[in-house]
Symmetry: C2
Subunit: 198 residues, 2 copies
């Protein structure tokens, strides 16, 4: 059996990764297994262990790091998040493709762990549009928006590391492009290395 | 032959990683091979390719990422820096220990790539002391210092991921502690996993 394809979706904060994932879930058009993260944050009402997250304590999380059981991990607001390696590899072995939707630092860790991963960068139509989206949330101070925009500039510079670039100017088109990339239908709007694995 | 030990030294910006490295070099007491980074920045006067850095162009660097030839990589001020995997593995195979001195994001990538790495965290004596050091450089605006301090807080939270913690309150003592860890003389001031590999 041909192993599945590991696809990593990342992009700067505010670019709309979450919206695309929500759209694919709502329309039930995600053609692959979506990786489940491990986290040390407590479950929220309605969240099911092994379905929304693997809920683990700090000690177990550190053990997973130490044993190489994670493909990537990060720290946000005092809580840890990571991608367990074993379920990803199991799905790939069974011939299923797997999608990871993660931040840039995590994406780079996955690429280091599994160089065969197909790396997709979700880009804003323009820096101005990204600024508008970051400001439009209305939940953050000017300083926070400025900090996120500076961070986004750094992250945008990573675009060239990726196998494919999807410009998120239209939710539905961008979602379709991602689906096409997952099933390997076409190389799509492409970074330097886009052709070799499709 | 017993393979060498891979030791990764990291810690928040301003904690004094560079000073310790300079001290070990000046006193010729570094008991291992110090990894050489690849970079896309041009050589400065006096810098020798293959000795201070491997100088490569952007295209070659992206190829190294894509082929899994790097243990970690990062982007600073528009230039790329990374650790080639092959020289590290070659020295380890020959029974030599290897030291990497890198930023936290890179350290996590190395741990993902080589879970057997021995991870050392260099910590400031206190947050106040780190603030004093970051301010004391005098080359940065208040906003820049504040941003670095916020970044340092995030990085300090990673301490528990490490096999050993060295508090940098005294340059000479901290340097000696690092040397002891590299040669495996003792588990030293230790994180949760400090005992198992020493």
């Amino acid at each position: 059996m041909q192993p599945g394809r590991l696809v990593v979706l990342t992009g700067p904060s505010g670019v709309g990764k979450g919206s695309i994932m929500a759209h694919l879930r709502a329309t039930r058009t995600l053609p692959c297994w979506l990786s489940i993260s491990a986290t040390t944050r407590p479950p929220r009402p309605g969240e099911v262990d092994g379905q929304h997250y693997f809920f683990v304590n700090e000690e177990r999380f550190l053990q997973m790091i130490d044993r190489g059981e994670l493909l990537e991990h990060a720290h946000f607001a005092g809580k840890r998040y990571g991608t367990p390696r074993e379920p990803v590899e199991e799905h790939l072995r069974r011939g299923e493709s797997v999608l990871l939707e993660i931040e840039l630092a995590g994406a780079r860790q996955v690429k280091i762990a599994m160089p065969e991963a197909f790396m997709v960068f979700l880009a804003p139509p323009s820096r101005e549009e990204l600024r508008r989206r970051l400001t439009g949330r209305g939940t953050e101070t000017d300083e926070q928006v400025a900090a996120r925009l500076a961070q986004a500039d750094v992250e945008m510079a990573a675009e060239s590391e990726f196998d494919a670039v999807i410009v998120n100017d239209d939710l539905e088109r961008a979602s379709t492009e991602l689906v096409d990339l997952i099933v390997g239908r076409r190389p799509a709007g492409a970074g330097p290395a886009a052709h070799k694995r499709t």
